[in-house]
Symmetry: C2
Subunit: 344 residues, 2 copies
């Protein structure tokens, strides 16, 4: 390993010396300040390029108290929906000159609290959060909001409104579409595996689903709905429950795709033909739903649109400079669409 050292950086002062101008003028030129002659700007830009000048973000950040960094807390980035949202957010923020620090809570409340603290301490200028499924109490976010940190929730958001901006999918309509679809396909008895109602996602999906059934004059009995952690194992057990009854369902709406896949596997094991004897609808349009056989109908949530909207809102908040809302605001709702496939 050689001892070659990093080349010495050129600063604004070097440009100033080279052009016999003051650092102040250079700074203004680089920031496209109106009070600097067009020719001067041109000279400065040229010289900057020639010297390979890179603005020192630490210096400018220190001066105007900006980190140009946004924090993001997400259950896990490997979930397809989140990966897409994050990608979009990342790209959009980059265009605006912002960096994104991505943290994963692994759906653990305690870790989410800790990460909130850490990101706050890291001086992110805003926080984007898809919270854990156990997050009912939002006081750890209230704390940083009180300190003037803008927070935006997406996907998983506080149930009863919040001062923070929220960008969510239209889960009510998604649930409705799923229900309506199964009814249209001739299902007479539809079961629903939902998550815990502490989450806005599952509460809303259930509510839309229920409405679809009501409109069709169908009952939704207590034994037709289960609330479980939406893992493959739990979904399998839930299916066992539904099929342990006198009257078994001919359609099932699962509140996420992991459990829809598990439901399909359950049907395979039991030799229940899908879609002939059992129709299945999932939620999120996970890529796996399209490669399994039969491919599973599901609800598309348009993650890119969610991401873009989050960034739009974020930029607006950042412009508002620490003026935090006092009152709760209504969530911003992104439309969803049902994707009909062979499972129904």
């Amino acid at each position: 390993m050689s001892k070659r050292k990093k080349t010495q950086e050129n600063t604004i002062i070097h440009i100033a010396e080279a052009l016999k101008l003051s650092p102040a003028t250079i700074s203004r030129a680089l920031n496209d300040h109106p009070y600097v002659k067009a020719q001067t700007k041109k000279d400065v830009l040229e010289m900057a390029a020639q010297l390979g000048y890179r603005r020192n973000l630490m210096a400018s950040g220190l001066r105007n108290n900006k980190t140009k960094t946004v924090g993001l807390i997400v259950p896990r980035i490997s979930m397809f929906f989140h990966a897409e949202v994050i990608t979009t957010i990342q790209n959009a923020l980059h265009q605006q000159g912002y960096k994104l620090i991505i943290c994963q809570s692994s759906d653990l409340l305690e870790l989410e609290k800790e990460l909130t603290e850490i990101l706050y301490a890291s001086r992110v200028e805003a926080l984007i959060v898809a919270c854990t499924l156990q997050t009912i109490d939002f006081s750890h976010f209230d704390k940083v909001i009180d300190q003037g940190l803008p927070v935006i929730f997406y996907d998983r958001a506080p149930l009863n409104g919040h001062r923070a901006t929220m960008v969510v999918g239209d889960d009510v309509h998604g649930g409705y579409l799923a229900g309506k679809h199964l009814i249209d396909r001739g299902c007479k008895r539809i079961a629903h595996l939902s998550g815990h109602l502490s989450s806005n996602l599952y509460r809303n999906r259930l509510s839309g689903f229920r409405q679809a059934l009501m409109e069709a004059g169908m009952e939704l009995g207590d034994d037709q709905v289960l609330h479980r952690e939406l893992s493959a194992e739990e979904a399998h057990k839930a299916m066992e429950f539904f099929f342990s009854k006198e009257v078994v369902p001919d359609g099932v709406f699962l509140a996420n795709d992991v459990s829809a896949i598990a439901a399909l596997q359950f049907a395979r094991e039991r030799g229940i033909p899908v879609p002939e004897k059992l129709k299945i609808v999932g939620y999120s349009n996970d890529p796996r739903t399209s490669i399994i056989s039969p491919p599973i109908s599901t609800v598309e949530q348009f993650p890119q649109q969610v991401g873009l909207r989050v960034v739009t809102e974020l930029m607006a908040l950042l412009k508002a400079e620490g003026n935090i809302p006092e009152t709760d605001t209504a969530p911003i709702v992104i439309p969803v669409e049902l994707i009909s496939r062979a499972s129904s």
Copy 2:
């Protein structure tokens, strides 16, 4: 929206005033400098906590010319293997007080070049790269390495060695395992869908695969190997090609899981029973391989281990402070394992 402003931050100077000490001592206490009395340290820490002090990273970064930020360029974060690696890297770096900026090249060479420039300009202290499949010329990385920026490649890396550190899976052995496994299962004629040989991944997987066949005294004819972009569409076409021949294969090794899935779907369409008439092995242990029916045998690459090793190497490089290696170094190889499933 109220006009509530951010609360004014406490600085090292406020602590100094509160304790009637100098800012210098406070700084030293906070950095656990040996030349400060234990009692003083304790007082400072307490007062810092009491005042809710947060170190200003821009100020300290400016002073000692550190950003505590690492850049990462990856084809896309939604690929399972990469998502896992990134997660691990992110967590490990966080523990070391480093931030991670994640950028996606979408497997586009031009974008990769641009991102390299941008991250360099953003003053990241190091760069972690899984390059695009078209990256043959590494001069855009050489440029920043020459500037003293440590670069670590993982997974996809320069073919012929490089000054930069490389952490790669044992693709040769992975290919060998896949070939051996198919032979052990009784395959007599095994086809291989590979990517372009410009990538270390596919070159090595092919080489290991070929070795397994050789050891078994089997030929690998030219019409048994195709080099294609490993998308579902191309894989499908490749399978059509293999099955358009007089002698059709009874086993196929696909160099990634996307194409293995496509191969399975091809077999379904043609009514070729898997694994009876055709055995399939993929690569990467994508979660989809385990839910498709039959589940597909594949090669596990242990993304967490790759990620951890990357961070270990990275920290070592950062300690070395811009002393960049003059000579090429051998890649660090992470072992792989074959996962045997019903497709073979």
